[in-house]
Amino acid sequence: MSAGQPPFDSPEIRRLTPVIGPGYTYGSVTDKISAIVLTRPTSLGWYVGFLIAFSLMGMLTVAVGWLIIKGVGIWGINIPIGWGFAIVNFVWWIGIGHAGTLISAILFLLNQKWRTSINRFAEAMTLFAVACAGIFPLIHTGRPWMAFYMFPYPSTMGLWPQFRSPLIWDVFAVSTYGTVSLMFWFVGLIPDLATLRDRAVKTPMKIIYGMLSMGWRGSARHWYRYQSAYLLLAGLATPLVLSVHSVISFDFSIAIVPGWHTTIFPPYFVAGAIYSGFAMVLTIAIPLRKVYGLEDFITMRHLDNMAKVMLATGLIVAYGYFMEFFMSSYSGNKFDVFLVQQRLHGPYAPFYYALILCNILLPQLLWSFKMRHNVAVLFIMSIVVNIGMWLERFVIVVISLTRDFVPSAWGRYSPTFWDWATFIGTMGMFVTLIFLFVRVLPAISIAEMRELVAETSEDEK
């Protein structure tokens, strides 16, 4: 194409990058997508990948088992650094878990056609990420069996949770988010489950999909209520998804620890969440479309748009970093000023610079049309951003705690074998779930693709 960059959203680009490949009918999309689940033989690659992921997940169970036997002392945490990897990973996973609902909900409300082919597995990814995140608050006390104290149940002590604590807010935010995402995802699945039911050959399959689809028959009356429910869910999920990471950010901004106690956190945590979320979607979408030949459904248009979203949110995050500096020096609070200095000159400075590189500098490449349309670059970029966002959480959680108010109490933190085992273990769990998902459920919403076919065909008329 011409060397000159076309403007961001011109008809030219639309033509160059349609949201769905040409020449598809209702039948063909149905066949192509359902085939992945029903007829396509399971490849050796799938088994290998699954096995690796699953063994990593095994490591997670070992790590958690050992934690339960020994207590959190097996981790690198100490006084003053009471929170380490567990919380870093928790925030990181939860952040990743934002893309799915965001894509499905917000883009749905904004009536973005290009969302259709990615929302399904984006939502799935959300659920799995939230599952991984959910593990950490549970185990990070080393005594998960005490967690029920955090729920408002009528206890024999006549006591209730302490509702002023952000950790209690977390409990409600995360569980609500998990539930709503799950429902949103399942409601979206119902028509496709019906499709699978009707196309399945083996009886057990028919029965399983039959049960899951709850007897969906595509009645116009059902579609009528279904659509309004789906719309409402989207409307509810949107403020929810924004609230969840705000609440997570309260864990820090409510505290008085310098580097935590700042009002910029909620917005920039949310932006960061979307940032990492889209990065993760890319990380999964790119291999997925390659392996299952879905290039026509997940087109360059999709990748391009997601890259743009990353670029935008990345800039918001960058603004957040800048504001931290500005506010600390503007307020002149000596503790904050010192903390910010620490990030630049303290023992952990390398992590901070790495963070700036991954989250701010490198992503600027995405301004270039060429880069946005280079799948390899996008893939690497998505990984880089994931790393960057993890570093951000590390910088916030750990560095702030190493040097707070009383110099005599300053300390340092470094993760142990078990910290890593748990972290990598959750990654294993995440990938395992993804593998299972693409194997047994349609990774792309068939029903919505049919709509898309209908609409695009109208466009052509």
Binding site: T25, Y26, G27, T30, P152, G158, L159, W160, P161, Q162, F163, R164, P166, I168, W169, F172, A173, T176, T179, V180, M183, F184, V187, P191, A194, T195, D198, R199, G210, M211, M214, G215, W216, R217, G218, S219, A220, R221, H222, W223, Y224, R225, Y226, Q227, S228, A229, L232, L233, L236, A237, P239, L240, S243, V247, F250, A447, E448, R450, E451, A454
Partner: protein
């Protein structure tokens, strides 16, 4: 006669694309049929209007769910902190309502969402794995690439032969009788 009817659920016509379907539905209603339903692999724009569907309770239910969740959430927190077991937490007032907002908000969303989903399922009468329309052989296409309309035997104007013929006249690709057992 009556006995005979009970075995028939209705007559079903199959169409190739949304436009045909909508056109057919309109014709059927003009013909005075009221007990009918259409089936499509995806929500077809204008179909509900054609069927004359108006009442939709889902939003109302959702609103109630939301209000319920939110109010219980907030009032419970106030009660637990102020009257159930008042404890001095860091010198904060017993009713530190600003701190109770996040939980209230989350519970509002939760209540509303649950109401929306389960309300929708309930109104749609799901789960309902068994349904007469599944008896129609070609109905499996309803979840893929075909569009159906079914005039039910409950309709006072229903007459097996006439209705079938009427559907034929609407250029249905197939017309089949939907048995009810």
């Amino acid at each position: 006669m009556h006995l005979h009817r009970s075995h028939i659920y209705g007559v079903m016509g199959e169409f190739g694309d949304p436009e045909e379907l909508i056109h057919a539905v309109q014709k059927i209603r003009e013909a005075g049929y009221r007990r009918l339903d259409a089936y499509a692999p995806f929500p077809v724009e204008g179909l509900s209007e054609a069927l004359g569907l108006k009442r939709n309770l889902v939003p109302a239910i959702t609103l109630l769910g939301g209000l319920g969740g939110g109010l219980t959430g907030f009032l419970f927190q106030v009660w637990a902190n102020v009257s159930s077991y008042p404890i001095n937490i860091g010198g904060r007032p017993l009713n530190s309502w600003p701190a109770f907002i996040p939980v209230t908000f989350e519970l509002t969303i939760l209540g509303a969402s649950l109401a929306a989903v389960f309300g929708m399922l309930a109104l749609n009468g799901l789960p309902q794995p068994h349904h007469p329309v599944f008896n129609v052989h070609r109905f499996s296409h309803a979840s893929s690439d075909r569009f159906f309309v079914c005039i039910e035997s409950r309709d006072p104007k229903f007459h097996l032969a006439d209705t079938a013929r009427f559907l034929q006249s609407l250029h249905a690709h197939h017309v089949s009788e939907v048995s009810d057992d």
